[in-house]
Amino acid sequence: MSENDAFLSATVRITGHGGAEIEAYAALLQDETARGGVVVIHHLPGYDEATKEIVRRFGHLGYNAVMPNLFWHDAPGAAPDDAAAAGRAKGGVPDERLVGDVAGAAEYLRSLPNSNGKAGVIGFCSGGRQSVLAACSLPLDAAVDCYGAFVTGDPSTIQGHPMRHVAPLYDKLPDLHCPLLGLFGADDQHPSAAEVAELEQILTKLGKPFEFHSYPDAGHAFFMVERPAFRPAAAKDGWERIGSFFGKHLSA
């Protein structure tokens, strides 16, 4: 075992969108070795235990990591599930606010004494789209999209219901600042295989560096260990690819 693998996991306060102080959950390596940082974006149901476990996993992998509570603005101090419900009632997380909160989280990571100045982002489910959005809007060093719907595609076609508060990112993709790793389930309908293929085509045409993997026998949310959608083989391979991708792009 390494002698310098100790990290502190704790609730912290960071400066988010509009200069507001927001809650965040961090895993902070305790030694002085310079290292990269990872911003973790939780899914729409909120700032929850499952995503905190992912933050701790990045600490275990040797990265400083932080997850902003995206619903803090809607109900400061409330229980995370109540805050998520309040945010949901307001229509979810506005894109501009998301970018502001990720910017603050990246700045928090880069200001740590043992930061090497590099920061990546990863998001799951709705956070997958938000990870791409952040990477198109901010000077990040690497981005991971785990099955984010509506990076491409038309939300208004879903079961006849308009998908309010979310739009595809076609107009933003030319501004993608960093390499993108995409991890998808082949059986997922949102994003569908066709939507993933369309994103692949667009990024190729734009000359953007990316790496996509679609796992057979996996659908949406295959990383979520406490849900029926969990697929051990896909999740295991996915974590290895995440480790390799961030290892390549967030090292000094």
Binding site: H43, L44, P45, G46, A89, R164, V166, Q189
Partner: protein, 86 residues
Amino acid sequence: MCTYITAKVDTEGSGKGAEGWFPLTQTTVYFDHPVHAAAEHTLNIDFRNPGRGAGARVAVELTAETARALAKAIMETLDAVPQDLT
């Protein structure tokens, strides 16, 4: 997926939350990943009173089958009540 769809209903009534009974002003209905239920997606209902804070909430997460049965039971119950009572 996170469906992003949320329906809102202006609400008159009361609910019993973590700190006892309180008046309800709003109900939100959505289909998404649950916080607690053992299903990939559930029909979630939050009976709320935002004026009393985010914690003034009675939450349920129901399987789609349960939600449909509940909606049917609500309509059947209301239909069976003498009209002058509703």
